[in-house]
Structures are given as structure tokens and as C-alpha cells.
């Protein structure tokens, strides 16, 4: 411990792979080796990758459901309050709370709030916008938005060890392994 404390702390180790298959295989093996604080980066969504790093989150659809219901209640409530309480108008003897003609607007507010929940919920759960992140320090990381695939093991992982983790990456035929500064 006395020796490692002299080395500046790092965010983690970043390994580069050339194909999505190699990345998924590597992520599976790293997870099998007992690492838990891992993340992968790819230029397009890879279905198998979330499973490989053991990531699961079912909150977003719930957000959208709640958003949609809130939008529906708000829309109907607004229409009822405006038409029956605040500014009642008798048009052709129709009831003030004529719910069938309230459906189109309530439908639109439902969709609107659900869509807001989907987009802003996604951004919030992802912690975006986040202009700075340690992975951007890796010189080759800009290829993650072009054609390269990356795997990171964070230094906060209980099993993390600079030497051993690097060796694991080398065994997985990583093209290049980089230490990420904070």
C-alpha cells in the first residue's frame, strides 16, 4: 500500500477492442473474473453488452407511464376546470363537462408528458449533460464514436489492481490499455 499511494490516483483502466464481438466477450470475461464497477463504450447500441456488464435498469418505462398518466389527469383537469368552473359557456345546451369532446386534448397532453418523461428521464438517469468525464482523457477515446470499442474497469472496484487488471486485459487481447487520469 505504501508503494501504490505514491502513484497519483486514477479513474480506471481503459482497454480498446476492434470488434463488437471482442468487446462483448471481454466484458463477459471481466465480469466473470469478479469485477463489478465496469462500463463499456461502443459507437452504436449493442444488445448483448448491457447483459455482459451486468447492467439492468427498468425505471424508465415506469417514468413514462407516470408521465403519461400525469399528463392525462392534467389535461382533463384543465379542461374540466376551464369549461365547468372558470369560464362556463352554454353552447347549444351541451353539458359543461362534456367529456367526449375533451378526449382529443387529453390524449395530446398524455402523449406530450409521456414523451417529456421518456427523453428527460433518459437524460437524467444517464447523468447527462456531463461535459467532462475521465474517459475523454484517453487520447484514442474519440474513436468510440467512430469504429472502436472500449471497456473500462473503475479504480473504485474492490478487485481493482493496476497490474492484475492490466494483465487480464492483455490476456483478452486488448489492442491498447490506457490508465485514465481523473
Amino acid at each position: 500500500m505504501a508503494e501504490t499511494s505514491r502513484v497519483p490516483p486514477i479513474y480506471g483502466l481503459l482497454a480498446e477492442f476492434e470488434t463488437p464481438q471482442a468487446l462483448v466477450t471481454a466484458a463477459t470475461k471481466v465480469r466473470d473474473a469478479g469485477y463489478r464497477r465496469i462500463d463499456a463504450f461502443s459507437p452504436f447500441p449493442i444488445e448483448e453488452l448491457a447483459d455482459a456488464i451486468g447492467f439492468r435498469d427498468r425505471r424508465l418505462p415506469m417514468f413514462v407511464l407516470v408521465g403519461g398518466l400525469a399528463g392525462m389527469v392534467a389535461g382533463l383537469g384543465l379542461e374540466y376546470w376551464v369549461s365547468a368552473v372558470a369560464y362556463p359557456l352554454n353552447i347549444g345546451g351541451r353539458p359543461h363537462a362534456s367529456w367526449p369532446s375533451f378526449i382529443p386534448v387529453a390524449f395530446e397532453t398524455t402523449i406530450l408528458c409521456a414523451a417529456f418523461a421518456a427523453v428527460f428521464g433518459m437524460l437524467a438517469l444517464n447523468g447527462l449533460p456531463m461535459p467532462y468525464h475521465p474517459v475523454f482523457n484517453a487520447p484514442r477515446f474519440s474513436a468510440a464514436t467512430r469504429d472502436r470499442f472500449f471497456l473500462v474497469v473503475e479504480a473504485t472496484d474492490p478487485k481493482f489492481d493496476r497490474m492484475q487488471t492490466r494483465k487480464l486485459f492483455d490476456d483478452l487481447h486488448a489492442r491498447e490499455v490506457t490508465e485514465l487520469a481523473h
Binding site: T19, P20, Q21, V24, T25, A27, D39, A40, F41, S42, P43, F44, P45, I46, E47, E48, A50, A52, I53, D57, L60, V64, G68, L78, E79, V82, S83, Y87, L89, I91, R94, S101, P104, V105, F107, E108, T109, I111, L112, A114, A115, A118, V119, M122, L123, L125, N126, L128, P129, M130, P131, H133, F136, F141, S142, A143, A144, T145, R146, D147
Partner: protein, 467 residues
Amino acid sequence: MANDHTPSEVADAAAYRIPPVIQPGHSFGTITDKIAAIVLTKHTPVVWFVVAGIGFLMTLMLFASLTKLLFTGIAIWGNNQPVGWAFDIINFVWWIGIGHAGTLISAILLLFRQSWRTSINRFAEAMTLFAVACAALYPLVHTGRPWLAAYWLFPYPNTMNMWPQFRSPLIWDVFAVSTYGTVSLLFWYTGLIPDLATLRDRAENRVARTMYGVFALGWRGSAQHWYRYETAYLLLAGLSTPLVLSVHSVVSFDFAVGILPGWHATIFPPYFVAGAIYAGFAMVLTLAIPLRAMFSLHDFITDRHLDNMAKVMLVTGLIVVYGYAMEAFFAWYSANQFEAYMIENRMTGPYWWSYWMLIFCNGLVPQLMWVKRFRTNTAILFIVSLVVGVGMWLERFVIIVTSLHRDFLPSSWDMYYPTRWDFATFFGTIGLFITLMFLFVRVLPMISIFEMRTLLPEAKVKEEAHG
């Protein structure tokens, strides 16, 4: 269908000579570089300056005519009693209709897992946004003094304590169109985030890098982000699908809820939605064919795309023709003298030319699309889509003007003639649309880069990882 490019499907596609959705020989890198280069290059094609310049001049004409309108009032238009809405609602419905293909391609084809949508969805979505912007202009300015009329359109607390009438289809319109515009913007921007990150990482110009960086929100392609991103995108598609169908149904209620002969028809919602998709796909083709040539995008927008879009256009065109037939049938079968006179007046009255031009443009010309040779000939396809665009404008003209100008009482009949300001405003919005579209293709990737990467066979993990 060669949607997922498994080896057997690729072989099938080859056997049946279906053109691919992406030309062979590309890798993740070449796709990225080719699409990003259109935006990041210093070189702009001369044609771009010419068309964008024309669009800009037409936009100036729009500003001039709107200024004249706001200073003088809507008397500068040809609107009268009984034709009270005329060009405003014709153009509003026409533009909204054009806006429909974008969301349809993006959302409905995504849910049906049609991979050919990928090459065209981005600029179709942009087209939707700009068309909705042009459409929304008309209900705002048709009041002549929009700053005084807002309290009838939007429910906000005002000093008069007045609130909008929620039983009115015109208020449904306000909510439908503003929701549609907002959700289309969210959908389009969400789709752009990963591509903005690509441009941020590719841009060499410092200002460009900063701008793309700001809008990319720090996207880094994390697997956890992609997971939630895909969920959000799919949910948005699922929400947009009923939305896009509802918007034009609501627009059709503006008419169908009235008791006017020619408007009061239950077929209007599906007939309007089909017409919107028809006009929208015509506009996507009108844009895709020249853009493909201008930026040499034949690798990504292949003949398969044009062929598929032509087929969608043919199908929706046939639904629209069915609508025309039903209008005539209802008029006859209802045994209602006002309905019967309405259809007779449409076909033989003073506006007979508009009805028969409509049948020619929307009914006859698109039948060329039955023939594969015409579907794959870009020149013919381009002309047919322009004709359909004109035809769909005529459809709204016929529905609105011929229904309004002679209703129940001959004492209230009158003719409607558009003025030059009507035309200046209409062509002005076309100019605004062209300008926005051309600015878009120059500064943002007009084809979704990250989705194009997923079309490559190398992007599939399953077979090799478990093989």
C-alpha cells in the same frame, strides 16, 4: 426481407435481386467518415448555394408579406364571406400533411423493424419539423393580430379571465399541432445526440467542436447509456405512432365536425391521414432524389429506398382515391340534395378544373408507380412526387373552397379569388422550408450515422459470440 442480413437472407435478397439497404464494402469507419464529411468539409457544392439562395429570397418574400399583413390586416388576402379561411387553412393542412411522413418513417417503420428507414429517417424528421413550423404559421397569422388572439388559442391566465373553448376542434388543433411539433423535435434531437458526439470528436474547427460538444451533452457511448437510450427511443416511437395518426384526424375534425356539405363526412379522419402520408412520402422523395445526387449518397440511399417509398406512395394514393370515390358515393347514397349539389358543383361548377386536375394529379399519374421501370427511374419518380405534392394541395383547395363557396343558401354564394399576397405568403413558406432544409443538411448529418453502423453485418454480435 433482408432486414437483419443473416447469411440466408442476404442470399435470398441476391436471388430475388432486391437492392440492398446499404451498398457493400463499407465499414463502421467509412460510414462515419462519409456522412460526417458532408457536414465537416469546408467545401459546399455550388448547387447548395443556388438553391439555398433562392429559398432565402423566397423567405424574404414571406417576411415582407407577413409585415404587410400585420400592418394592414387580412383584407390583403382574397378571403371573403363565405370563403372565410381559404389559403390559410389550405396551406396549413397541406404543410401538416407533408410533416407526417417524417414521424411515420421514424416511428412506425422502427416499430415494424424496417431497416430501410435508417437512411432516410433523419432528414424526413427534419422535414417534419420544418413543415410543422410552416403549418403553424397559418393559424397564428390568419387572425391578422395574433398578439390579440392568443387567449382564444392557448389556455393561460389573462387579465380578462377568458379561457379557450375546449369543445372546439380548433382548440384540439392547437394542442395536436403543438404536441406534434414538440414530440417531433424531441424525437429528432434524441436521435441526433450520438451523431453530435461523433461530429464533436471528428470536427477540426474549434467553434464547430464546441457547438457540437454542447449539443452532444457529453455523450460517450456508454453501454448503460445506450441501454436507456434504446428504451427511450422505442418508447418515443410507440408514443409518436398514435400521435401522428391523431394529429391529422384532429385536423380533419376541423371539417368533419361542421355540418357543411362536403365537410361533414365520417371518412375524413382515415382519408386525411392517408392523404398526409401520401403527401409526406412525395415530399421525402422530392427531397431525397436531389440530395442523393448532390452529395453522392447512392451508397446509403439506394434504389431500394426509392422503390419502397414509391410503393408506399402508390398504396396511400389508392386509399386517397377511394376517399374521392366515397365522397361521391355518400353524396348519391345520402339522397341529400345539398350533398348531391356539392359534388355536382365540384365536378361541373366554376371550380371544375381544380377537381379534375386533382383527379389527374392524385388519381391517374401515380398509377405509373405500378411499373417497376418507372419506380426505379429517378427522373420519373421525382416528377411524379412533384405532381402528387401539387395534387394534395389541390385536394385541400377543392375540399375548402368548393364546399364553402356554395353552401345551403344561394343568397350567400360567392366566388373566391386568391390575391398576390396569398401567393406571396404561400411561396414564402416554401422558401422558408427550403432554407431551413438546406441549412440542416449543411450543419447536421442528414443520415443517422449510428443507426447506419448497425446495418453492417459486423455489428451483429450474436452469431459469432455464441458460435
